[in-house]
């Protein structure tokens, strides 16, 4: 044989792993030192079944492309076959760390569509439930972020306090994770006896713990070295990618729907919007995003204390017919989830079931910025960046 060309595996070239055109060198195995590395879907620091394809050069990550869809469960399609009140159980499983917030958002969307007035007491109970769940969600975020950075102890402490909140939820509605508590027209059950006293006890117990977490992890020198000046998201980048929640507040933009487009009883409540200040490095780095969440837990405590003081008496659920008829029309309701803006778009053609439901998930939108943040960083910084985005894959894939 006189031909000198070496045999090339045709399959090798055609696999681009979703990278940009030209990113994969045709003779990748021969000439280049760049390597494609699959991170996930079973990687412990990807918080679920996220797969990130990394183009690496030694320790440097040149490009990162997140791949989704490993947890897709057709949530939007399911909604087209269920009555409005039946879909509550499915919204629990969107962002399973913040089930109350999802219930609340869905209920708000349906109430807006059907023009239902919610009793005042129900609104306060809802805010209590939602803010408690926000604390629980931020605790998981804080604990697992420590875990990603190699600190195991804060994780256990975070889950100890979270357990307290889950016990409160169990007394409130009988479930611990998939709560299905906030319902259309109010809440499913009234507060159990002595719940507000127990909640006050918890807040007194929990408030000093946040300072403990800060001593343990936030101001730990090793942790700061790992997270500050890593994955810096500028204000322009945040707006360009439509980020929300702690991601955009970490970059110094005070965007919080509870204040900018207030819903429920948030106008009556006094709280601060926490923004990143670049305390330990550049503005908008991983540490800033983390710090926003730690500060928000304190604001949640403030909100909860005010709710306990202002709790009115009265009905906990509006009187609705069982087979609720919803007028035709369309509605979009926005909600401030622990992770950002959660939106439910419902189109109704009348009757008991929606015609189309679209979910705007905060994790999904926030995850899109991964590729931008993971450019030219070290391989060990990728878990730090992905962890600080704080995604829940149940909501990304839906």
């Amino acid at each position: 044989m006189s031909t000198a060309t070496p045999p090339v595996d045709p399959n090798l070239k055609s696999v681009s792993y979703g990278l940009a055109p030209g990113a994969v060198d045709d003779d990748i195995d021969v000439q280049s030192e760049e390597m494609l590395v699959n991170m996930g879907p079973q990687h412990p620091s990807t918080h679920g079944v996220l797969r990130i394809v990394l183009r690496t050069d030694g320790e440097m990550v040149l490009e990162a492309v997140p791949h989704l869809g490993y947890l897709h469960r057709c949530k939007e399609k399911i909604a087209e076959n269920l009555a409005y009140y039946q879909y509550i159980g499915y919204t629990d499983r969107l962002d399973y760390l913040a089930a109350m917030n999802n219930n609340h958002a869905w209920s708000m969307a349906v109430e807006k569509l059907a023009d239902i007035e919610v009793p005042k007491r129900a609104e306060y109970i809802r805010v209590i439930a939602a803010e408690l769940n926000r604390i629980a969600s931020h605790l998981v975020s804080f604990g697992t972020y420590g875990l990603d950075m190699g600190a195991f102890t804060p994780f256990l402490y975070a889950f100890r306090e979270r357990e307290y909140i889950l016990d409160l939820f169990e007394q409130l509605c009988g479930a611990r994770l998939t709560l299905s508590y906030i319902n259309i027209g109010g809440v499913t059950w009234d507060l159990p006896p002595l719940f507000l006293e127990k909640l006050g006890e918890f807040l007194d117990y929990f408030e000093p713990k946040i300072d403990e977490y800060n001593d343990l992890l936030s101001f730990n020198h090793i942790f700061i070295k790992r997270t500050s000046n890593v994955g810096v998201a500028s204000k322009e980048l945040c707006i360009k990618y439509a980020l929300s929640g702690p991601m955009i507040r970490g970059s110094g933009i005070p965007l919080d729907l509870r204040r900018t487009r207030p819903y429920s009883v948030y106008p009556n409540l006094d709280f601060d919007i926490c923004v990143g200040e670049g305390l330990k490095g550049q503005l908008g780095d991983c540490w800033d995003r983390y710090w926003v969440k730690m500060q928000e837990m304190k604001q949640c405590i403030r909100i909860l204390r005010q709710c306990i003081a202002q709790m009115p008496s009265g009905a906990f659920r509006a009187k609705l017919p069982r087979a609720m008829k919803v007028p035709p029309g369309e509605v979009y309701a926005e909600y401030e989830n622990p992770r950002g803006h959660l939106g439910f778009y419902i189109e109704s053609q009348g009757g008991p079931i929606p015609y189309r439901v679209k979910i705007r998930g905060p994790s999904f939108v926030n995850l899109a910025v991964t590729g931008e943040l993971c450019k030219n960083v070290l391989l060990a910084d990728v878990p730090a960046i992905v962890g600080s985005i704080d995604i829940v894959m149940g909501e990304v894939d839906r």
């Binding site: 269920l82 009140y85 039946q86 879909y87 509550i88 159980g89 499915y90 102890t153 100890r160 357990e163 016990d167 169990e170 007394q171 409130l172 509605c173 009988g174 479930a175 998939t178 299905s180 499913t188 059950w189 009234d190 159990p192 403990e212 001593d215 343990l216 101001f219 730990n220 020198h221 090793i222 659920r317 069982r322």
Partner: protein, 192 residues
């Protein structure tokens, strides 16, 4: 990096580790928050939503629970609708027969939507939470079959195995076996 920065870095690291150790050592001398599960257990809240308890003698087979279920996991077969005898509060035996009442626990969401519309409150959420089995068929619980044995709720595998040597399991086992209901009246708030 100057020598000054180098040593300042070491000092900062050691200092932050010392602060962390102070907190963790403090917890060494405090009471543990975990429980040794099979021997000890935490109590359930009154509203706990576990595996259903079904009182067949009060069911009028109206299908309302099956219609309310978001995942269609309740299967009801009947010859005709049944009626409640107002004197005893039980089902009139002259009416139709409830041939099958089964719940598929591989689908169930434990959302308690089935308990809300029930006119006779014959189905409610129990206190058992763990129904593991070796086959898919076992996950479908036939409540009509259980009723013939005098039970309101299925006996999980773990309960059968540990009833001999763990006191609280024995207690629960005997309760389930005798058909007693875990939730007392008033525990679960009624939505009207």
């Amino acid at each position: 990096m100057t020598a000054r920065e180098y040593f300042a870095n070491i000092y900062d690291n050691v200092k932050s580790i010392a602060i962390g150790m102070k907190i963790t050592i403090k917890y060494c001398f405090q009471k543990t928050v975990t429980v040794q599960y099979p021997e000890q257990r935490l109590s359930f809240a009154p509203r706990y939503r576990g595996i259903h308890e079904f009182e067949l003698d009060r069911c009028i087979a109206c299908d309302l629970c099956a219609k309310a279920c978001p995942v269609d996991c309740i299967y009801i077969d009947k010859t005709a609708p049944r009626k409640i005898d107002k004197k005893t509060g039980k089902v009139d035996p002259k009416g139709g027969e409830l041939v099958r009442y089964a719940i598929d626990y591989s689908k169930c969401l434990f959302c308690a939507l089935c308990t809300e519309p029930c006119p006779t409150e014959c189905i409610h959420m129990g206190k058992l939470h763990d129904l593991s089995s070796y086959s898919r068929e076992d996950v479908v619980v036939e409540f009509t079959e259980l009723d013939k044995k005098g039970q309101r709720t299925p006996i999980p595998l773990w309960m059968e195995r540990n009833a001999d040597h763990i006191p609280w399991v024995k207690e629960e086992y005997e309760r389930v076996k005798s058909g007693k209901i875990a939730t007392t009246a008033g525990d679960i708030p009624v939505v009207k």
